[in-house]
């Protein structure tokens, strides 16, 4: 096949079902991928492309354009079918296996790019001084940590928006809850560096007690001079009973929370806590188990 300079051999997404071998000339292949952006590669004599189109019938991965006059050998799928008739049956299985492995690798890469860039995004958002940051500037910052495309970063921002941590505007992103972004980042960092669960991740009992504390504080809390909110022990016990379906609050239940200094014991049978910190911790514990699924599905 002869291709003149400037002619397109195929467009990305075309179903050509063919394999191409460049005999002479030069071609440029451009692919646009929502996660990796635009990528360009060059083909010259001896280059081959379209292997997945031939073997698996997949759409062409790139738009291929002749940079000068080219001679190209085209292997159509009928040639593959005729050849495979003469081959042992297991060779077909091997081809299917190789194609499937390629798909798995592509999918793993897609997931891995999102999952591994997520902490970088949290790091940047937790550290930028302004509440609003332009999407372009944010993308530039993320590019220092990852090769994820602008669209990939946008997907991650949508996940954060679902959790009400940021708000997306047409050209910028507004950081809605910086303290929570910070503790989410710290939680992931702790897991990665110390290979253990962060102290921010609470047991269900601890979460229930803190939820009871928040409810009791909303109803009958007293604001202390140091900014902490105090709750009478009797109110906390009563609220816990309701939250924990009749379970009694014991000193043992409170031990971890006192140790972690999430609750502080005051004289006159009262407990106090940093209300905002508790709200953020409870929210962290709500969204943390949902994160992996969100990142894997990218939705």
């Amino acid at each position: 096949m002869i291709l003149r300079e400037g002619e397109n051999l195929c467009l990305q997404g075309d179903l050509t079902h063919s394999f191409y071998i460049v005999k002479s000339g030069a071609l440029t292949a451009t692919s646009k991928d929502e996660q990796n952006g635009t990528q360009v590669q060059n083909f010259g004599p001896g280059s081959t492309f379209g292997e997945l189109s031939l073997i698996a019938g997949e759409p062409m991965e790139y738009t291929v354009r002749a940079e000068d006059d080219c001679e190209i050998e085209v292997i159509p799928q009928s040639a593959l079918h005729n050849t495979m008739k003469e081959q042992p049956i297991w060779l077909k299985s091997i081809l299917a296996f190789l194609t499937q492995r390629n798909h798995i690798a592509q999918e793993n890469k897609r997931k891995s790019d999102l999952i591994t860039t997520f902490p970088s995004l949290l790091f940047v958002l937790s550290r930028v001084p302004a509440k609003d940051i332009s999407l372009v500037a944010l993308q530039d910052e993320i590019a220092q940590f990852s090769k994820l495309s602008a669209l990939g970063t946008y997907k991650l921002l949508i996940i954060l928006q679902d959790f009400k941590l940021v708000r997306l505007q047409s050209e910028s992103v507004s950081v809605e809850n910086k303290p929570l972004i910070k503790i989410l980042y710290e939680t992931l960092r702790h897991r990665a560096i110390y290979k253990s669960t962060s102290p921010n991740i609470l047991s269900l009992t601890d979460q229930a007690i803190l939820t009871a504390f928040v409810k009791a504080a909303c109803d009958k809390g007293e604001l202390q001079s140091d900014g902490l909110v105090a709750v009478n022990s009797s109110d906390l016990i009563e609220q816990t009973k309701r939250t924990m379906h009749g379970m009694s609050l014991t000193p043992r239940n409170l031990e971890t929370l006192l140790q972690k200094q999430l609750l502080k014991e005051l004289p006159k049978e009262k407990y106090c806590a940093n209300f905002d910190r508790l709200l953020n911790l409870l929210e962290l514990n709500r969204i943390y188990p949902l994160l992996d699924k969100k990142l894997i599905t990218g939705q």
């Binding site: 081959t48 042992p88 297991w90 190789l98 902490p119 560096i193």
Partner: protein, 302 residues
């Protein structure tokens, strides 16, 4: 014996009937092979997890393709759970079969394999091309007051960027040599000398990479004088273009139209409504700091 047959000789695969419990392949096997299960059932056992049953292989399925074609390590032990029939395709058999294939099909198979290998490598690879630029960008987010644990900082950076620890450490040493990070007396902690300087350094490295001119180092003597004078003004100074030109003149700074346009290219002014120009104090300081720390940025600091 010369047969006159130019076709490569095909070595057929081995077909075996195995009893339940028979180990058909294990990580210790020296010869790599593909196993095609014709009848029966195989189980994959993980020797690193006390031979835990990981998955089952059913008739028509293959194992060992990666090991034979890509020389990947074999992870599991494959054992027959019932009496089974298997086909073993070893190195010689595969090689003879591949040799007999048309060249284009062999090229297509190799291309798919290479593509998969490249994708898998890119998953494991560092996510940035230039660890120094990336580390500078990372450290610029820390304030001067924060005491940073050196080891923890490196671990955190390596985790975020997948930069290998030795490369991250080298980049850290470079930042210390250029006095952008200041080690504390105990040696295990450090502080950031000026976050803005790290930001400037990352920008400087980026323009170097792209082979673009680095504007702060391209200023003429007159432009440098203007820059220093601008830095003494009130940050909010906003007047129109001709008033700026007059102001320069009053301070013995000869600024022509070309210089004025260049200053706008440097972003020293922000254009406002009614043809007014506000001094962009942030950018002026950026240029000033870049000039002040030129040896640090260029790596000639002693």
């Amino acid at each position: 014996m010369i047969t006159g047959n130019s076709q490569p000789r095909l070595i057929p695969p081995t077909r075996l009937r195995v009893k339940a419990g028979f180990v058909v392949s294990s990580p210790q096997d020296e010869d790599k092979k593909i196993i095609l299960l014709n009848e029966g059932e195989l189980v994959a056992l993980d020797p690193k997890a006390n031979n835990k049953d990981v998955f089952k292989i059913h008739p028509g399925n293959l194992v060992g393709v990666g090991a034979l074609l890509e020389r990947e390590p074999v992870r599991y032990i494959f054992q027959a759970t019932t009496d089974s029939t298997i086909t073993i395709i070893n190195d010689e058999c595969m090689e003879s079969e591949l040799k007999a294939l048309p060249v284009w099909l062999l090229a297509a198979i190799k291309a798919i394999s290479a593509k998969t290998r490249r994708i898998n490598e890119s998953i494991r690879a560092a996510k940035t091309e230039n660890p120094l630029e990336s580390l500078a960008s990372f450290c610029k987010f820390y304030s001067k007051d924060e005491i940073l644990q050196k080891q923890l900082l490196l671990q955190e950076f390596s985790w975020l960027t997948k930069t290998p620890f030795p490369a991250a450490n080298e980049a850290l040493k470079t930042l210390i040599r250029r006095k952008m990070l200041i080690p504390q007396a105990n040696g295990s902690t450090l502080t950031v000398s000026d976050p803005r300087l790290l930001e400037i350094f990352a920008d400087y490295l980026k323009t170097q990479e792209l082979e673009l001119p680095w504007l702060p180092f391209k200023l003429t003597l007159q432009q440098k004088r203007c820059l220093v004078w601008l830095s003494t003004l009130e940050p909010d100074t906003t007047i129109d273009g001709s008033a700026w030109m007059n102001l320069f003149k009053e301070h013995n700074l000869e600024v022509g139209v070309t210089d004025w346009l260049q200053m706008q290219q440097f972003e020293w002014f922000n254009e406002r409504e009614n043809h007014l120009f506000a001094l962009n104090f942030d950018k002026v300081n950026y240029y000033l700091l870049a000039l002040q720390y030129e040896p640090n940025l260029k790596g000639t600091v002693k």
